[in-house]
Symmetry: C2
Subunit: 219 residues, 2 copies
Amino acid sequence: MAGLGRVRIPEVVVRRLPVYLRVLTDLQGEGVEVVSSAELAERTGFSSEQIRKDLAIFGALGTRGRGYRTEFLRERLLSAMGLDRPVNVALVGAGSLGTALARYTLTRGGGIRLVAVFDNDWGKIGQRIGDVEVRPLADLPRLLPALQVRLAIVAVPAAAAQAVTDLLVENGVQAILNFSPVRLDGRGRAHVQNIDLAIELQSLAYYAVRAAEAREAGG
Amino acid sequence: MAGLGRVRIPEVVVRRLPVYLRVLTDLQGEGVEVVSSAELAERTGFSSEQIRKDLAIFGALGTRGRGYRTEFLRERLLSAMGLDRPVNVALVGAGSLGTALARYTLTRGGGIRLVAVFDNDWGKIGQRIGDVEVRPLADLPRLLPALQVRLAIVAVPAAAAQAVTDLLVENGVQAILNFSPVRLDGRGRAHVQNIDLAIELQSLAYYAVRAAEAREAGG
DNA sequence: AATTGTGAAACACTTCACAGCC
DNA sequence: GGCTGTGAAGTGTTTCACAATT
C-alpha cells in the first residue's frame, strides 16, 4: 500500500473531515469504542452513504458488520489532515474581530496553535492576547519562518489585505483564512478561504425575506 | 411576465449575488454605467458564462452587443434578494466575538441594520455597541416582533446555542448566522448558515500541511 | 463587431442499491 | 444479521459553443 497522505481529497470532503473529527473526539470522551456510519450520520447531519464514501477515500477503515473503531479512525483522519502534529497559525490584524478570533483559536483551536499576532497600530503592539504578544508587521519576515508558520488568519482592513497576503506568501504561508471583505489572490502558492460577513448576511437576507414570502404564500 | 421575486434561486447563486452587488456598487461609484459579463468576471473571479447564467435567472437583464446597465442590474438584484428595503438583524451573545461581529455589521453591513443585541451576562447588559444597547435575553420575545427582526446572528457558547435558536425561531426569525461550534436545527422554519472557525482552520491545515507536501514533492 | 442568453456536454457530488464480508 | 464498500443512477453545477440580438 502507498503512503498515508498520498490521496487527493475533494474540497467538499476536506470540509467535512473536521466535523467527523469533532464527533469522534466526543465519542471517545463518552468511551464509545466502535461507531457505525449510521450513528455518525445522526451526529453530523450528513447521510451515512456519504460518510462511508468519504472515509473509503483513505482505504477500508471500517469492519463490515461492525463499524469503525473510533480511536483508530480518529487517528487516521488526523494524520490525513496533517493534524497529527501541532499546526502553528499566525494572525495579522489585532482589531476587535482579529482579537476575538485569536481568543477563539486559543480556547477552541482543535489542535491549531496560535503562535504570533501582528499589527501596525502602536496602540496595539505590545498588548497580550492570551500569552501571545502583538508584534509589529516588520517582525513578520523574521518570526514566521522561525516559528514554522504555514497557516495564517487575515483580519485587516480591505485596503491592506492583498499586501499582507503577499507578505505572508513570501514568508512561507500556504493557507490563509481571510476575514477582510476582498477576494485575495494566493499567487498560486497559498490556498485562500474567504469568510465575508457582509456576504453571509446578505445571502441570508434572501432566506429571511424572499424565501419566507414564498413559504407564507403557497409552500 | 410573472411577478418579480417569484423565481427559485439555487443556493450557490444566492451566495454569489452579494458579490455581484458589491462590484456593481463599486462600479456605480466609479461612474461606470454599463458593464459586460467579462468585466464582472474579472472583478469577481467567477467565469463570464456563469455570471450570464446567474443573471439570466431573473430574465433578460442585459443588452446583446452592449452589456448590463449597472444601476438597473443592481436594483434588480437588490430586489431579488429582498435588500430593496432595510433588513433588521439581531445579535445574541455579546462576548468578544459577538461584539466584534456587531461592530462589523454596523460599519459594513451592506444594507443590513443591527437593531438589537441580547446577552444574559449582567456585566454586559446595558453596555452599548454603537448606538445599540445590550439587553437581557428575557426581552427578546417582546422586542423581536416589535423590531420586525427576521434575521439573527448567534454567537453564544455551544451549550446554549440550540435553546437560543429555538427562542429565535419561536419569535419569527427565518434565517440565522451561527458562529457557535454546533450544527443548529432551524426546526424546518429557519435557514441556518454555520460558520465554525475550528472547522475552517482545520480544513485549511490540510492545505497548509498535506497539499503543501505534495507540491514540494512532485507537482 | 460585440456581447448576451442558452441548449448541450462535461464535470462534480450525492443517493441508491446491493454485493461482500464479518 | 448487520454494516461496510462501491459500482450505477441521479442530481446539481460549470463550461462549452454558438445562435440571437443590438
